[in-house]
């Protein structure tokens, strides 16, 4: 039936929770169409059938945390025409990048009875720290709509339409009352990249930054607002140290809060 070759799509997993690749399977209305438009050539979670590379588009979930994975990502890059990092682990090192601030040996002893059985790196790093990446899609987890947009864009040979502005713009468009202005609820919306659909404020909750920093975020000004909402110094440190703790703007904001201190 097909006279032209369908592009080959591969989905790879590194240190992660599987939630971003699950987002692809959660595109219930589009999955069969997608499977017609591309050849799903490597997607172990969904299929036993594996086609050899090279692949036209590789989606990479997860961060690099072991010596083995540091080698494997090189192989993935070598066999991929385009490589897109998906999710907070792949773009910022994920929550497991909290180890970068700690003593990994001590952490291993905390969790495992025989630390000598465990092979791990001192840090959890994003894919771009190891190989060139063609696009980074943010989110913990990624938005399935944005994921489809990225796949479609690469198939069509155009730039993905993924805005770099803040959650505030989505929140306004959704017609939400600002949780900070109206209720004094601490919210990272002003410094966090859009894409989720401003879900947290829609549920009367402040944004907790799972899409990572927006373009040119003013975290210093927001930190003052957060303190005036009643956030303590340690709380301010912690709110920037979650799923995107390794993103430079959030890492700097938490370090600044730590340096300034403040009441607990």
């Amino acid at each position: 039936m097909q006279s032209t070759r369908r592009p080959k799509l591969a989905v790879w997993k590194f240190g992660s929770c599987d939630g971003c690749q699950l987002s692809l399977l959660n595109c219930e209305d589009e999955l069969l169409t997608l499977a017609g438009a591309v050849e799903i050539a490597y997607f172990l979670e969904a299929s036993t059938a594996v086609t050899e590379g090279p692949y036209d588009l590789s989606l990479v979930e997860g961060s690099v945390t072991t010596p083995h994975d540091a080698e494997r990502i090189q192989e993935v890059r070598a066999t991929s025409r385009h490589l897109v990092a998906i999710g907070a682990c792949a773009t910022a090192g994920g929550i497991q990048a909290l180890r970068n601030l700690a003593d990994v040996g001590e952490m291993t002893r905390t969790v495992y009875a025989h630390p000598d059985y465990i092979s791990t790196l001192e840090s959890s790093t994003p894919i771009a720290a190891h190989v060139p990446v063609d696009f980074e899609l943010r989110g913990c987890p990624v938005s399935r709509h944005q994921l489809l947009e990225v796949v479609s864009a690469f198939l069509a040979g155009r730039k993905p339409l993924v805005p770099a502005y803040s959650v505030c713009q989505e929140c306004k468009r959704r017609g939400n009352v600002c949780v900070t202005v109206a209720h004094g609820t601490p919210c990272l919306g002003p410094v966090t990249q859009a894409g989720c659909g401003a879900i947290c404020p829609s549920f009367h909750r402040g944004c907790y930054g799972c899409f990572g920093p927006t373009e040119t975020p003013n975290t210093a000004a927001l930190s003052d607002v957060l303190r005036s909402c009643g956030m303590s110094g340690p709380e301010l440190v912690r709110i920037f140290r979650t799923y995107n703790t390794g993103a430079p703007a959030f890492a700097a904001a938490s370090a600044a809060a730590e340096k300034r201190g403040g009441p607990r």
């Binding site: 939630g19 699950l22 219930e28 969904a46 059938a49 929550i95 905390t110």
Partner: protein
């Protein structure tokens, strides 16, 4: 009889969540070594939970698993509320159960149709299945979407919901938001019944396991969000006694810890265990469907777990409909929870089996220590035991067929290796 040396290698076991490996050495007719290896890179959740506020574990531990985040959120909330001496209002508990129904439907349908059914139908994937049975795969995707939709409405999104907090929710859904789910849920209940019938027509290899079946048990419900820990051998303990009866061991070949019943017994959690312990608590509709599908009051064949998952999907759809029909907006979205020094335990039924959390808090609510026991770690020993039997009882099979059967035996447990582990590399060596 020839004493042959055969080396079977399978690069990767697919259609499981996460990555691991299996190594089997067969010497003549004896399995001399068999290990399910779990390679998932360690992520150290229990270590970096220390020092976080008591309000944070539900969001943080959700990130252990993108397939069952609600389970992590619910076990964490229960443990922390218990440490703080709080019990949530009944309407909030009901709403938690509804959210959990969404996760059960989504996760079970994913496993039944996308991961497990291809084994019984000789297909490599559900997408391959769709070429001949498009209607079946369309039913699967629509049914899965209903589960995700419940999670979107109650939790804000299906992967890592944002609306769960210690004490309850940030905002409770309106009656009209929930009623908007009913039409699709009624369709889903019919589709789940069809699913039970469909999977019951598959051919199942013979395997009866003697493992102790361990699950939560509730006085009136098919236990999901709370209960006592019970087994088919008479175990009946409160949640906070879990670690007195079960222990974890760290073995060399795995980043997941192996759990055992203290005193050495092998046990099993998940659909087979829940069904066997709680058959009498299933809604009548699900119990009848199970009987029609050829299940008795207990199920000990792991290959039939696909039927049990379908029965549980039906029960979850039925339960969700009842919860929505009986819904009245709670007066408050959350019960206030003030921190205090203490220890709390929580157990809920993740789709793959019981999930235990324990937190120790200081007087300001900072986490001093955390212990998490995921279902796949508890089942690892049982999976290895089943594999051993499958290999021994099927030595006459050709290598490729035996490999395939081994993979299926692993998939029976829907192992969520992300909760504990990476890819499953199956190696069977014959000497």
């Amino acid at each position: 009889m020839t004493h042959q040396t055969r080396d079977l290698s399978l690069e990767a076991l697919s259609r499981v969540e996460g990555e691991g490996a299996m190594h089997v050495v067969i010497d003549g007719k004896t399995v001399t070594d068999l290990r399910l290896q779990i390679y998932e890179p360690p992520r150290f959740f229990e270590a970096f939970l220390r020092g976080r506020a008591y309000t944070e574990p539900p969001d943080i531990t959700a990130r252990i698993c993108g397939i069952c985040p609600v389970a992590y959120q619910m076990s964490a909330c229960q443990a922390i509320e218990s440490a703080c001496g709080v019990v949530v209002d009944e309407p909030l508990r009901a709403l938690r159960r509804l959210l959990y129904c969404g996760e059960w439907i989504e996760s079970h349908v994913l496993h039944i149709y996308l991961l497990h059914a291809p084994d019984f139908l000789g297909a490599g994937s559900a997408l391959e299945l769709a070429r001949e049975h498009r209607d079946v795969v369309e039913r699967a995707l629509r049914l899965k979407k209903v589960g995700n939709h419940i999670m979107d409405v109650v939790g804000g999104r299906s992967v890592h919901p944002v609306n769960v907090r210690v004490g309850g929710f940030y905002r409770v859904p309106t009656l009209s938001e929930l009623r908007g789910l009913l039409d699709e849920l009624r369709w889903a209940r019919d589709a789940a019944l069809e699913t039970v019938r469909w999977v019951s027509t598959f051919t199942f290899p013979d395997l009866e396991v003697a493992h102790e079946m361990v699950a939560l048990r509730h006085p009136s419900e098919y236990a999901v969000v709370d209960g006592r820990v019970a087994s088919d051998r008479g175990l009946d303990i409160p949640v906070d006694a879990f670690l007195d009866h079960f222990e974890e061991e760290h073995v060399a070949h795995s980043t997941a810890l192996h759990a055992h019943r203290k005193g050495g017994g092998r046990y099993l959690v998940g659909p087979l265990a829940r069904y066997t312990v709680n058959h009498d608590r299933l809604p009548a509709l699900a119990r009848e469907a199970a009987a029609d599908a050829g299940l008795g009051p207990e199920c000990r064949n792991p290959f039939r777990s696909i039927v049990v998952r379908a029965v549980e999907t039906l029960a979850a759809c039925d339960d969700a409909i009842g919860l929505i029909e009986g819904y009245e907006e709670p007066e408050r979205p959350a019960v206030p929870v003030e921190p205090r020094a203490g220890v709390g335990h929580g157990i809920t039924e993740a789709p793959r089996g019981l999930l235990y959390h324990r937190y120790e808090l200081d007087e300001d609510g900072a986490v001093l220590s955390a212990v998490i026991v995921p279902p796949t770690a508890q089942n690892q020993d049982a999976i290895e035991s089943d594999l051993r039997r499958v290999v021994v009882e099927n030595l006459g099979l050709r290598d490729s067929a035996l490999q395939h059967l081994c993979e299926e035996a692993i998939r029976n447990y829907d192992p969520c290796i992300s909760c504990s582990a990476h890819f499953l590399d199956v190696t069977v060596e014959r000497r």
